[in-house]
Structure formats: C-alpha cells, structure tokens
C-alpha cells in the first residue's frame, strides 16, 4: 500500500509543473547562476573555491525547497481542497500515507543532490564527494527534519491562498541568513544571531563538512543534533496541532 501511494505521490509531484519547477529546478538554476558569478572566488577560511562553497549552501537550499517549502504547500493545498479529508474516509492507514509522502520527498531530494553534484562537477570542476554513506544519511536527516518543520508550519496557515506567501516569507529569509547563497560580506550581529538559531545554518555546515571536507556525519554531532532537535520540535507541533480538514466556517 505504501508503494502504491508512493508511486502516486511521485506522479503527482512531477506532474505539478509549477511545484516541481519551484522546488526542484529552481535550486539548480540558482546554483548555475551564482556559481557563474562567484565560482572562481577563493574562500580562504574554508580553503575551497566559491563554487564548492556554494554547492553546500545550495544543497541546504534544496532541502528547504523540497522538504520544507514544497511539502508545506502540498499539505496546505490538500488540506484546504478536502483531499486529506477524503483520504481519511478510506482504509488507507495514516502511517502509509505519511510514509509515502516522506519517501517521495526523499526521492526528489536525492535526485536533486545527485543533479547538483553532477552540475558542480561538469560546470565548475568540483570533485565528487567520497563520503557517500554520510551524504545519504544527511539527505535522510534533512528530509525528515525539514519535512516535520514544513508540516508544522502548515498548522499556522489558514488558507490555500496564503500557503505560498507564508512559506516564502519563512524559507527565503532562512535560506539567505543561513548562507545558502553566500555573500562575501559578514552579516550584522543581529542577523548573525538569528542565523545561529536556524536549522538550515547547521544543515549547511553539515553539508560543508561532508561534501567539502570529506568528514563523516558522525565526526561532529553538533550540527546533526541541532537539525534533529528542530525536527523533533516540528514533529511535536505537528502531532499537537495538525488538522486533516479545513478550518470550520
């Protein structure tokens, strides 16, 4: 049943061209764009080139786009249109549905990661990472944690019209502050302080460690811990506040 639903979820995702563009193609385009501008600048603190540094940032942006923003929008649209309500009226178990949606997001983000790595390699000669297992685990962690946060966000969105507005207002500043797009200047202290709270900041650091510095995911638990803690927070909000149906009246 999970596989059956997963197949449908994949079909639905790729057929929804706007959503697939916004969450899947867009990060790739941003990488090409920024990589072309800053790609050759050396990042002395990290000992890598701009295109390498950006790769980690856009990998983080990718998980925010697919698992956080994309999923939040899908869930709000399905809730408000009544699709979730209808599903509740069938014998499809809740776990099978949630599992299928998560698995579908993992597939999408995995393809995105591979596409980014290939793009980085072909366009900017960024070497492929060695730590594939760590990278796979990081993909898994990222999707689950950011999906939980995305679904948690849906609990404060009241209408389908508001979905992309609220989601963009949260995730674009987050991606910017967390350093997805990398700016050469340092941030003012206030923004720096906010950035230090965001899960994406830590997720990007984790990606830097794995992809740029060939470290294992278990080498340093700080980044994993913060991302996981945010994920658990999202899960708790979801469990407490999630609605399957549109608000009454």
């Amino acid at each position: 049943m999970l596989v059956h639903q997963l197949r449908a979820e994949q079909r639905l995702y790729w057929r929804s061209h706007e959503l697939a563009f916004f969450t899947f193609i867009f990060p790739l385009l941003i990488y090409i764009l920024l990589g072309s501008v800053y790609g050759d600048d050396p990042i002395e603190s990290e000992g890598v080139t701009g295109s390498e540094y950006l790769l980690a940032g856009i990998l983080g942006y990718g998980v925010a786009a697919t698992a956080f923003a994309g999923l939040a929008i899908i869930v709000v649209l399905r809730r408000e249109s009544g699709v979730l309500k209808r599903l509740r009226g069938t014998p499809l178990p809740g776990w099978a549905y949630v599992g299928a949606v998560l698995a579908s997001t993992i597939i999408v983000f995995t393809i995105e990661v591979v596409a980014l790595l290939v793009l980085a390699n072909v366009m900017f000669d960024v070497p492929y990472p060695d730590r594939w297992l760590s990278l796979a685990l990081a993909v898994l962690l990222g999707v689950v944690a950011f999906a939980a946060l995305g679904v948690a966000l849906t609990t404060v969105i009241r209408s389908a019209e508001g979905a992309s507005a609220v989601v963009n207002a949260v995730y674009l500043p987050m991606a910017f502050l967390a350093g997805s797009f990398w700016t050469p200047q340092a941030y003012p202290p206030v923004l720096e302080a906010i950035a230090n709270l965001l899960p994406l900041t830590y997720y990007i650091q984790l990606m830097q460690d794995i992809v740029l510095h060939n470290e294992q995911i278990w080498a340093d638990w700080t980044n994993v811990g913060v991302v996981a803690a945010w994920g658990i927070f999202g899960l708790v909000v979801t469990v407490l506040r999630f609605r399957w149906e549109p608000r009454e009246g």
Binding site: M1, H4, Q5, A8, R11, L12, R15, S16, S81, G82, V83, K85, R86, R88, G89, T90, P91, L92, P93, E245, E248
Partner: protein
Amino acid sequence: MPAVTVSGLRKAYNGLEAVRGVSFDIAQGEVFGLLGPNGAGKTTTVEILEGYRHRDAGTVSVLGADPEQAGETWRERIGIVLQSSAMYVNLTVREHVALFAGYYVAPRDPDDVIDLVGLAEKRHDRVKTLSGGQQRRLDLALGLIGDPDILFLDEPTTGFDPAARRAAWDMIRSLRELGKTILLTTHYLDEAEQLADRVAVLRKGEIVALGTPRELTSRAVGTEIRYRRDGREVVVETNEPTKTLHELTGEALARGVELEDLHVLKPSLEDIYLELTGGDEE
C-alpha cells in the same frame, strides 16, 4: 439488524446546537433521505456517521460499529461522497480511480466503476479537464470503488443541471438494485421523493417528520378541490375528498351547472415540507 442506528444524537459547535436529539434507523438495503434546508444539521449528522466528527451525546451504530472507534476494516465497508469534490486534478480519471482502488482489500474493478458512473469516454482525461458534473460523477466512483455495503451521499446533485440530475438519479437507483444501503442528504424535495424509501425532514437540528414520501404527503394537510363558479375561483379544503367531491358534483348535477376548471389537488411533498420547515429554506 439495521445498517444504521442513531439515537438521541447531539452536537454543538461553539455553544450552538447543530443537531438536537436526532434518532432514526436505516434498514439494510434501504435508501434513506435526510431532507432539510441549509443549516438544518444534515451534514453534521452524516459526518458523525462517517466518523469525521465527535458527537456530544447519543449513540450511533453504523454496520454494527461506533464510527468514532471504528478502524480500517470498517472503512472497507463504507463509501463516502462528501459535499464538495476534492481530488488530484493532475491525475487522469482512470489513474485516480485505480489509486483509490489500491486502498481497499477487495475493490471493484476500476474500469467497471468508471463505466457505471458514465465516465467511460473521459477515462484517460485529466481530472482538471472535467466539468463540475463529471467531477461529481468521479466523486461517486471514488465512493463506490471499495464496493461498500453502505454509501453516504451528501447532496450528490447540488449544482447539477436538470439533465445531469436525472442521470444521477438513475445511477443512484441502479445502486439500490445492487442492494446497497444509501444515506442521502438533499435540500431538493423532488430528489428525496424520487429516490428515498423513507425520508426524515430535519429542521434546526431536529427531525420534524419521518416516513415514506407517501406517508408524509398523505398526513396532515387536507386535499384541495378547486373550481370556478361565475368566474370566481372557489377552493375547498377537505380531509374527506371523496365525500366532499361527491356532494359538490351531486349538487352541481342537480342544478344542471358545470363546475368549471375542476381540480382535485393532493398536497405535494413540497407543501408538507414548507409547512414542516416553516419555509426557512435559504
């Protein structure tokens, strides 16, 4: 054992009682109509029976189970058509029906169900290209795909044009022939009259009348006899139409006059309905 038993059902939203002590039974294989104006509590009642809503008081049994506690095996036997259509617009009709078929242990054949609801020609079209009436038929297909024992239809024909409504009625009649128990809500009288074996009229959360359409129309309000005399219309209301008519015609014959434009009118369900609901249809 009845398919549905409801007794003393109550439900309030924010202190406002939407359902105030409703009781009825639905027999196996019966088509039961819940009739009433908007806001009478029809959808609330049905959604409690479907397991969507928590009730404040009363007992409810659907196929022998309490909908609030019932699990997936119970859902296998329930078909639901909600008031508003909701579906994946990017799937084709066939894909959509097949997707839902996969949720059931023993579904009906998707192609058969698509044929049954009259969407055979639209089989490979995306849902978003369907008209409103066609989407409603797909709704019905999704409600039927699990081969349910009981089907809940919440205002299945609202917004249909007359031809589409006739077609839907034929479809619902064919479901009755399959032996399905059907609970239908509607605010159209003619729909209840045409389809339902028994009708409960709801007004402000209470059942104000319950019976076969014939029983409902034969009670209370008398029969009307209308004719014209000297160009003026005369209306006689009576509970003994045979006797009254005999007297009238006997008198007219004796006097050698014609009762012009003579009518005998049985009250329609509409008259009863307007009387019962106080004419507060929106």
